[in-house]
């Protein structure tokens, strides 16, 4: 127990002297790193603009209010496109994520030595790259438009869904699988009757959760030209039409809140 003798009394402390020294040293190193980072950021900043920021902010605020409400008539189609990008992207991602997840889970993979690392690589590489970057890439390859957005969202979601799904597969109850195997079921029958029923609730939860995230992400995909309401946002920003920008931001906010509400309701019903 870390105690310190002082004037004949033993006093309890959280750490021994050595531990607390190491602790302080760690904090010092952390502080130095942070100071360095802050200095770099500060060097790259034009401080004149920062001191001017409150004036600019209030200027933008007066230009942006009130929102141009009648512009909403032109936002119907972009919102529909955004919804399509998110929904179709999620569906494609789920179709692709299921086989990847089964190949990546330790208890269902056909080969832990060769196939599992490949599946894990697919998961990590699709997950670590943001959907905006995937969209940039796809626009360069297949041209701007809603389709590029759908594919970008789909690729980005594979890793996320497959990761959560393979963790669910690894946590299944092996007893049920064994019971189905004992009836003489084939490999596919074991999968259909022993494994799938156990992960179906998790699967539905993941699907709705990812759909919610995808609605958020698809609202900004248009900034790089991949369709949806982001296109209107970037067009309005380019011509500095701040009343339109504020309306679009409100619409995006509403879409995010509604999708979160829907996903919470559905997940509540499933689990």
């Amino acid at each position: 127990m870390p105690v310190i003798e002082k004037n004949g009394d033993t006093i309890w402390h959280r750490r021994t002297t050595k531990q607390s020294l190491a602790h302080s040293a760690m904090w010092l190193v952390g502080l130095a790193i942070f100071a360095y980072c802050w200095q770099q950021i500060s060097n790259a900043t034009t401080w004149f603009f920062v001191w001017d920021a409150p004036r600019i902010a209030s200027d933008i605020w007066t230009r942006a209010t009130p929102p141009k409400w009648e512009y909403i008539s032109q936002l119907g189609r972009p919102i529909w496109d955004t919804l399509n990008i998110a929904t179709l992207g999620t569906l494609i991602a789920l179709c692709l994520a299921v086989p990847v997840a089964f190949l990546a889970a330790r208890n269902t993979t056909p080969s832990a030595l060769f196939i599992r690392p490949v599946a894990l690589l697919i998961i990590v590489s699709t997950r670590s790259i943001n959907s905006l970057i995937w969209a940039l890439l796809l626009i360069a390859i297949i041209g701007p438009g809603v389709f590029a957005g759908v594919v970008a969202i789909a690729i980005r979601s594979i890793g996320f869904c497959a990761k959560l799904l393979y963790e669910a597969i690894e946590e299944i109850d092996e007893v049920q699988v064994e019971a189905i195997t004992a009836t003489g079921a084939s490999r596919w029958q074991v999968m259909a009757y022993g494994i799938v029923p156990q992960i179906l609730p998790a699967f539905a939860g993941i699907a709705v959760f990812r759909w919610d995230i995808n609605i958020r992400e698809s609202t900004v995909l248009g900034l790089v030209g991949a369709g949806g309401i982001g296109l209107q946002l970037s067009a309005s920003l380019n011509v500095l039409a701040w009343p339109q920008v504020s309306l679009i931001l409100l619409v995006i906010l509403a879409a995010v809140v509604i999708s979160e509400w829907v996903s919470a309701k559905v997940r509540g019903a499933i689990i």
């Binding site: 790193i33 670590s128 905006l132 390859i141 389709f147 995006i252 995010v256």
Partner: protein, 270 residues
């Protein structure tokens, strides 16, 4: 024999459906098919353009086997360093600010007015996406990493405060009460009664957030908020797929390294 069993005997077993209400099940399926048709009809895919693009897609895939780290080396490393700097600074500031807000957003230790204010901050931060915040902050503070730093700090607050508050709300009251009964002041109560209970999860979540912040910092450059995104965007615009592939590989490697480190740290604190 009960009538229930008699009704079942002699019939083949059928797998029970996922949604037991038949009307709801059929209705959902029908609505879903109708939606798919409507969605498919409104997306105009230019297949000839896609077909032309396959060539470039193949080129890009090939570029991954031969990434070019050298010809734009200074841009790549400068951008990557700036991304890392933004990530570190934003994570530190975000975590520091989110701890008091997380304490305030926990109903069991904060009074109602504080609770409502903190929950409001969390809700605003979570509803606004990073890239939109970045656009606004670039418009206000000018181009550069400061806007990116502020964006990620702001996003970190929403994420971490919410999860921290939920963790505090589900903590064990008995330990906190024991500390209070020993006559501890409020700060001591938080430090010895609450903090040890939530610390492992806080550390785990913080490291996870660092990981997210790095991934997000890679796109901030698209709107001028600093980091490697600007370099990546330029590489795509110039169709320099080998440089783009190099940048993407670097991002993936850093994310993998962060995930590895976070695994080790989380195993140690739990």
């Amino acid at each position: 024999m009960s009538t229930e069993l008699e009704a079942v005997l002699g019939k083949t077993w059928k797998r029970p459906p996922f949604i037991s209400n038949q009307l709801l099940r059929r209705g959902l399926a029908l609505a879903f098919v109708a939606y798919l048709i409507a969605a498919y009809l409104t997306i105009d895919i230019n297949w000839s353009r896609v077909y032309e693009g396959l060539d470039r897609g193949a080129q890009f895939a090939l570029a991954f086997t031969n990434p070019d780290f050298t010809s734009r080396a200074s841009d790549i490393w400068g951008g990557l360093l700036e991304s890392v700097i933004i990530t570190v600074a934003a994570s530190v500031v975000g975590i520091l600010i989110s701890i008091p807000i997380g304490l305030g957003a926990a109903r069991n230790i904060a009074p109602l007015p504080v609770y409502l204010i903190c929950r409001g901050i969390v809700a605003i931060s979570r509803a606004l996406q990073e890239i939109i915040v970045a656009i606004l902050l670039v418009a206000i503070f000018g181009f550069g990493p400061l806007a990116g730093f502020l964006t990620l700090s702001f996003a970190t607050i929403g994420f971490l405060s919410k999860l921290l508050a939920e963790d505090i709300e589900s903590m064990d009251r008995v330990q906190a009460e024991a500390i209070k009964a020993s006559g501890a002041r409020w700060a001591q109560w938080i430090n010895y009664g609450v903090q040890p209970q939530v610390m492992p999860r806080l550390v785990g979540l913080s490291i996870y957030r660092v990981d997210i912040n790095f991934r997000e910092s890679a796109i901030l450059g698209l709107v001028g908020a600093g980091g490697i995104g600007a370099t990546l965007n330029t590489a795509f615009d110039r169709y320099e797929y080998d440089t783009a592939a190099a940048i993407l590989i670097l991002i993936i490697v850093v994310v993998m390294a962060l995930e590895y480190i976070s695994g080790i740290v989380r195993a140690r604190v739990q």
